[in-house]
Amino acid sequence: MKNSTTNTMRMKGKDLITVGIFSAIYFVINFAFMLLGTIPIMWILMPGLIALFTGIPYMLLAAKVQKPGAIFLMGLITGLIYFITGQFTTVILITFVIGCGLAELVRFLTKYKSFMGNTLSFACFSIGMIGSPLPIWLFKESFIAQISEQGMSADYVASIEALSSTGMLVLMIAAPIVLAFVGAFIAKVLFKKHFVKAGIV
């Protein structure tokens, strides 16, 4: 990774391929939790849980490709693949773009190298996922009308209504931030234990 500093900061073939591979891993983990999201409480915890478990691929990618755009590209690919399966709503698209943008900004300001900087950018990136359950609060009334129209049972609607309190909103936003730090810390421990020895990081 030393030559990346001497070369230009534009992403080259190797960086693009690395981003592609780590995006695949990120997407698989993300998708697993997306499937769990059919259970209402899991849906609200989903952004946090994704943050906890995607720390390793994110931190590894951030360490491998220390150039602008890598994280944005990962977000873009995730979004595109979700679009193909029809899982992406406009709200998540907006939060995702904001999350990725902030992550890139933090990475730029912290010069791509520091562990704390990457952790902060990971927290920003993780917040992007809150767009998935956010409509519960944004369009509370029409949303509930819509899902009961779609054939969701009254039980499901009632459990969603109970979950959509302000306290839950705070929890939903705070969880990815806190768990992103935990996830990054786990990544650091694993890096020390395995990857540094193998000369990967």
Partner: protein, 227 residues
């Protein structure tokens, strides 16, 4: 679409499939009527059967019928707790069916090479095409990898939380190694050449492409007007 069907096995332009996917998304998420949904799914199933995905079309048709049966006949007589979970699953699964059908067609009948050529025709930047095609190609590799790691873990009798670490670390290691190898191969084959890339795939919109897209758009519009 009926006139296109007469030709037997068809191969659509990848761009047609991508546009159809967008239409499928629009129809799936704007329509609430069950009849529109069924009509849409059936037409798409016929389309992919004609394209040579007969087997998958049958499987998807069976799965879709099961979802419908579950929702309308089995769930009402189920105990409450089970019913909620099943209903959610059936409803969600049904919603993504149109996208799933086109997705199947894309995965089975479009090589990544064709897809790349199509995206290049649309002037999607290289910086996106390269990682996107790598991502799509890497999914099967991850699945394979997880299988091997599971086997290895069974041999060594690894349990509990350690299992997670033993899964994640090798995947990350091999991902890093693959990234290195793949880039070396790709750079050798001129991935960084700034010139316009050529492709062996020739791409043209045929009559069947136009017909197929026209059908999709007309269906979309008619569904909007009727419902």
């Amino acid at each position: 679409m009926s006139s296109a069907a007469k030709k037997g096995r068809l191969n659509f332009d990848p761009r047609t499939k991508l546009i159809l996917l967008v239409i499928a998304n629009i129809v799936a998420f704007t329509q609430q009527s069950i009849w529109v949904e069924i009509a849409w799914v059936v037409s798409l199933l016929i389309l992919i059967a004609v394209c040579g995905c007969g087997k998958s079309a049958c499987k998807l048709a069976v799965a879709f019928s099961i979802c419908l049966l579950l929702q309308y006949y089995i769930v009402p007589v189920m105990p409450q707790v089970l019913a909620t979970t099943f209903l959610i699953l059936a409803t969600y699964a049904r919603k993504i069916f149109p996208c799933l059908i086109i997705g199947t067609l894309l995965v089975q009948k479009t090589s990544v090479r064709e897809m790349t050529a199509a995206l290049r025709k649309w002037h999607v930047p290289q910086g996106l095409i390269i990682p996107l095609s790598v991502t799509i190609r890497y999914f099967p590799a991850i699945k394979e990898e997880i299988g091997y790691i599971r086997d290895a873990m069974k041999f060594r009798d690894i349990h509990g939380i350690q299992k997670l670490e033993c899964l994640v670390v090798p995947i990350m290691m091999s991902a890093t190694a693959t990234a290195e190898e793949l880039s070396a191969a790709a750079v050798t084959r001129g991935i960084e050449n700034p010139n316009k890339k050529t492709s062996i795939v020739t791409m043209r919109f045929g009559v069947h492409d136009v017909l197929c897209l026209a059908f999709g758009i007309i269906f979309c519009v008619v569904a909007f007007i009727i419902v």
